[in-house]
C-alpha cells in the first residue's frame, strides 16, 4: 500500500492507482472533475484536462514537485506523494482555462438540450466557468445527424472525450464510428455507409458527458427533472437487466444504466451493469419491469427536488413548504 496526501487528506491505496481513483476512494470534494475519464472503459482519460492537479511532492524518495500540472486520471500515485487539488490556486486557474476552452465552441443551447440537468459540462461551467465569453469568433456549426437509428449526434456539443469510441471498441462487436479529421475540425462520425447498430451501442448515450449523443426515443419528450427515476430490473438474457427507468406517472419515458456518484455505470456483481438496446429502447412499459426503489440522488442534483411522494429526508425544505 502506498500513502498519498490529497488536499490534506491522507489515504492508503494500492500501488499503481491513479491520483483520481485514489481521490475517489477517499471521496468528498477532493475529487477532481473528470469529463473524459471513465473507469470502466479501458484507455479512456487524459484528453479533457479538467482533472489536472498539482503535485507538490513527487514521492517519499524524490520529494521534488512536478513542474507541470498532471492529469490525475492517468498519473499513478507514488508513496509519499502530496497532491493539491482544490487547495491549489494554479489548479483552479487552469481548470477555469480548460473550461473556457471547452466552452468556446460550445453552442450553449442548454435551454433546448436534452442533457440539461445531468450534463457534466454544465456542472463544470457552474464550478469553474466565467460569466462571460471572450470568444468573438463564429462558433463551429454542425447539423445534428443520426449516427444510428436510435442515436442522434449533435457535434456542436461534443467535447471529444472519446468515451463513445471506447464503448464502440470495448462493448460492441465492431466499431463503426470514430473521430475524423484533426485539430478543431475533429468530429465524431461513422464510417462511410455505416450506422451505429449494435446490441450495446445505446450505452454511448449514457457515457456521453454532454448532450452530443442523445436517445432518439427520448429526445424532446420531457425535461429530466420532471421525471422520477426508479431503480428497476427485468429478466434479460443479454444484459444484467438492472437499470433506471425514468417515469412520469405510470409511463416510462426512458431507460438508462444505473450510475454511481461519479456518473459512471454502477458495478453490479463485480461487472459494469451496461444494458442492452432491447432494455433501453423497447421496454417502455411498466409491466416489463420490477420497480425496486427510487433512485438515490445527490442533494445538489436538479433532478432531486421533491419529486417523490414521500418527502425527501435529505430535503427539509419540502416540509416547510407544505
Amino acid at each position: 500500500m502506498v500513502k498519498v496526501t490529497i488536499d490534506d487528506v491522507v489515504i492508503e491505496v494500492e500501488p499503481g492507482t491513479t491520483i483520481l481513483n485514489a481521490a475517489r476512494q477517499a471521496g468528498g470534494d477532493i475529487v477532481p472533475p473528470a469529463m473524459c475519464y471513465y473507469s470502466k472503459l479501458e484507455g479512456s482519460g487524459g484528453k479533457c484536462r479538467t482533472c489536472l492537479v498539482e503535485v507538490a511532492a513527487g514521492s517519499e524518495k524524490d520529494p521534488r514537485p512536478m513542474p507541470k500540472l498532471v492529469a490525475s486520471c492517468s498519473t499513478p500515485v507514488m508513496d509519499g506523494m502530496i497532491v493539491k487539488n482544490k487547495t491549489s490556486e494554479r489548479v483552479h486557474e487552469n481548470r477555469g482555462a480548460v473550461t473556457e476552452f471547452l466552452l468556446i465552441n460550445h453552442p450553449l443551447d442548454c435551454p433546448v438540450c436534452d442533457q440539461a440537468g445531468e450534463c457534466k459540462l454544465q456542472d463544470l461551467a457552474f464550478d469553474h466557468g466565467a460569466a462571460k465569453t471572450r470568444y468573438e469568433e463564429p462558433r463551429r456549426k454542425h447539423e445534428p445527424v443520426d449516427i444510428g437509428n436510435t442515436i442522434k449526434l449533435n457535434q456542436d456539443r461534443c467535447i471529444l472525450c472519446y468515451r463513445c469510441v471506447y464503448v464502440g471498441n470495448q462493448l460492441c462487436d465492431s466499431r463503426v464510428h470514430g473521430v475524423m479529421h484533426r485539430g478543431e475540425h475533429a468530429e465524431i462520425s461513422t464510417y462511410i455507409e455505416n450506422s451505429v447498430d449494435n446490441e450495446f451501442s445505446g450505452n454511448m448515450i449514457d457515457v456521453c458527458p454532454v448532450g452530443a449523443l442523445t436517445d432518439k426515443t427520448f429526445r424532446f419528450k420531457s425535461r429530466v427533472w420532471f421525471l422520477k427515476p426508479m431503480n428497476a430490473s427485468c429478466e434479460c438474457t443479454k444484459c444484467a437487466g438492472k437499470a433506471v427507468v425514468w417515469m412520469f406517472g405510470n409511463q416510462i419515458y426512458r431507460v438508462t444504466v444505473r450510475k454511481d456518484e461519479y456518473d459512471e455505470v454502477q458495478m453490479i456483481d463485480g461487472k459494469p451493469a451496461w444494458i442492452c438496446n432491447e432494455c433501453r429502447y423497447d421496454k417502455k412499459d411498466v409491466s416489463k419491469w420490477t420497480i425496486e426503489e427510487p433512485l438515490k440522488l445527490k442533494r445538489t442534483s436538479v433532478i432531486s427536488q421533491g419529486h417523490y411522494d414521500k418527502p425527501n429526508p435529505l430535503n427539509d425544505s419540502t416540509k416547510n413548504l407544505k
Binding site: R49, V179, G183
Partner: protein, 446 residues
C-alpha cells in the same frame, strides 16, 4: 573550416550507392561494433559522447538508450523518426536524400546496441521520393549482407523497414508516431508509460531522430573521447542546421557546435549575411516552435556575451531573452518582414496540425489562429494582445504532448519582443490590411 562528420563525403558523386559509400569508408562502424564491441559497450560509448537528441528536445540519446527496458522474451524496437515536418527544418531530408546509407549504417549499429532485431524508419508522407531512395539503399544493404540474417557472421539479425506516414506533423511526436506505425490514428499517447517501457506494439521501443542515429556512426568510428573534443563542453559534436529566410546563401550546413551565431549568419563559409543588403530583424534559431529572437539578442545574449550555436548558449537567458537550438531550423527575417504575419502563419500551422485530442490544444490553437488573423488583417484591438498572452499561457504545459507548448511559445515570444508591432496593427488598421509592418518603401499588397 568546420569539421564535418555527417556530410564529409556528401559531394562524392554516387555516394547514394553502396559501392561508393563503402569505398569512402562506409559501414566501418557496423564492422567495428559487431565484431569488436558488445551491445552494452556501444551504448556506453554513445552515453559517453554526450550526444543530445537532434530532433528538437535535446534529450541525451545515450540516456534514452539506457532507459530501455529489457525484459526476457519480448522484442525490442528501434524506430527512426524521419517525420521531419517542423517549418524551417529540412536537414533530415537532405541527409536521407543524399547519403541514405549513413542512416542505414546508423540504424544497424544502434539496433545492435539496443538488441533490436526489427527496426523501422517512419518517414513523412510528403517525402515519398526519399522513401524510394531509402528502400533502394536498404535493398543494397541486404544484398551485401549488412542487413538480414547473421550480419557479417556475427550471429546478429536485423530487419529494417521504411514506413511512410500520412503527412501529419503530430506523427513526429514519438508516441503519436508509434500509434501511426501501428496503423492507428496518430494521437499521442499518455505518458507514463514511456515508449522505453511500452512502445511499439506494447514492446520497449527507442525513438530517435534521423540525425541522432546518423551521428552514432562517427561516434563509434572515432570513439567517444575523440568525439567529445568537437563542439563545446556541454554540446558535443556537430549539428546540421537548415538555414532559411532572407539569407544570401540559405541551405543545410553542418556546423561544429560552438560556432558563433554572428559567424554563422555573416561568415563567408556559411550564410554570407542578409540578402539584398538589408538589416536583420529577427531570427528563429531552432525551427518554428522555439521562441523568436529580436535583432539585439541574436548575436549577443542579454548579458552582452557572444551567442554561440550550441544548446546552452542559445537557451541562455531562458525564454525571456533566449531561445533554443531545437531541431536546427534557422530562420532569419530581414527588416521588411512582418512578425505578426509570421506569427499568424505559424499559429495557422499549429492549429491545422493539432490532433484534436486534448482540449487546450484543440481549442486553444484554433482560437489563437483566429485572433492573430484578426490582428494581422487590421481587425484586432488592444484587448486581443492580452487575450493571446493569456491563451498561450493556458495552453502551455497543460497538454498531452509538446505540440501545445510548441504552438504557444512562438506567439508568447513574438508578443514579448515585438509588442509594438502588434500594437501598430491595432492602431493602423487601414495600413495593416494593405502592407507589412516596417515596409514603408514596398507597397505590394498582401
Amino acid at each position: 573550416m568546420g569539421r564535418k562528420l555527417l556530410l564529409e563525403h556528401i559531394d562524392v558523386p554516387g555516394i547514394e550507392t553502396f559501392e561508393v559509400y563503402r569505398r569512402e569508408g562506409g559501414y566501418r562502424s557496423v564492422e567495428k561494433a559487431l565484431k569488436t564491441m558488445s551491445p552494452q559497450e556501444v551504448v556506453e560509448e554513445v552515453q559517453k559522447s554526450a550526444l543530445k537528441g537532434r530532433g528538437g528536445a535535446g534529450f541525451p540519446t545515450g540516456m534514452k538508450w539506457s532507459f530501455l527496458a529489457k525484459p526476457e522474451g519480448i522484442p525490442r524496437y528501434l524506430v527512426c523518426n524521419a517525420d521531419e515536418s517542423e517549418p524551417g527544418t529540412f536537414k533530415d531530408r537532405y541527409l536521407m536524400e543524399k547519403i541514405p546509407h549513413l542512416l542505414i549504417e546508423g540504424m544497424i549499429t544502434s539496433s545492435y546496441a539496443l538488441g533490436a532485431n526489427t527496426s523501422h524508419i517512419y518517414i513523412r508522407g510528403e517525402y515519398m521520393f526519399v522513401l524510394d531512395i531509402l528502400e533502394k539503399a536498404i535493398a543494397e544493404a541486404y544484398e551485401k549482407g549488412f542487413l538480414g540474417k547473421n550480419i557479417l557472421g556475427s550471429g546478429y539479425d536485423l530487419d529494417l523497414y521504411v514506413s511512410p506516414g500520412g503527412g501529419a506533423y503530430i506523427c513526429g511526436e514519438e508516441t503519436a508516431l508509434l500509434e501511426s506505425l501501428e496503423g492507428k490514428r496518430g494521437n499521442p499517447r499518455m505518458k507514463p508509460p514511456f515508449p522505453a517501457v511500452k512502445g511499439l506494439f506494447g514492446c520497449p521501443t527507442v525513438v530517435n531522430n534521423v540525425e541522432s542515429i546518423a551521428t552514432v556512426v562517427p561516434i563509434i568510428n572515432m570513439g567517444a573521447d575523440e568525439y567529445l573534443k568537437i563542439g563545446t563542453e556541454k554540446s558535443s559534436g556537430t549539428k546540421l542546421i537548415s538555414a532559411s529566410g532572407n539569407l544570401v546563401r540559405p541551405g543545410v550546413y553542418e556546423i561544429e557546435l560552438g560556432l558563433s551565431v554572428e559567424e554563422f549568419i555573416y561568415g563567408d563559409e556559411w550564410c554570407r549575411g542578409i540578402a539584398n543588403g538589408k538589416k536583420i530583424k529577427a531570427c528563429i534559431p531552432g525551427g518554428s516552435s522555439v521562441p523568436i529572437l529580436p535583432a539585439h539578442l541574436i548575436t549577443k545574449t542579454a548579458a552582452g556575451e557572444t551567442r554561440y550555436m550550441s544548446y546552452e548558449s542559445l537557451s541562455d537567458g531562458g525564454f525571456a531573452s533566449g531561445s533554443m537550438l531545437g531541431s536546427g531550423g534557422f530562420i532569419v527575417f530581414d527588416e521588411d518582414q512582418c512578425i505578426v504575419r509570421n506569427t499568424w502563419n505559424f499559429a495557422r500551422f499549429y492549429a491545422h496540425e493539432s490532433c484534436g485530442q486534448c482540449s487546450p490544444c484543440r481549442e486553444g490553437t484554433g482560437w489563437m489562429e483566429k485572433v492573430l488573423y484578426r490582428l494581422e488583417h487590421g481587425q484586432g484591438n488592444m484587448r486581443d494582445i492580452e487575450l493571446l498572452e493569456q491563451i498561450n499561457k493556458k495552453i502551455e504545459g497543460n497538454t498531452i504532448c509538446p505540440l501545445g507548448d510548441a504552438a504557444a511559445w512562438p506567439v508568447a515570444a513574438a508578443i514579448r519582443h515585438f509588442r509594438e508591432e502588434f500594437e501598430w496593427h491595432v492602431t493602423n488598421p487601414q495600413e495593416a490590411q494593405t502592407r507589412n509592418y516596417g515596409l514603408l518603401k514596398v507597397t505590394e499588397t498582401l
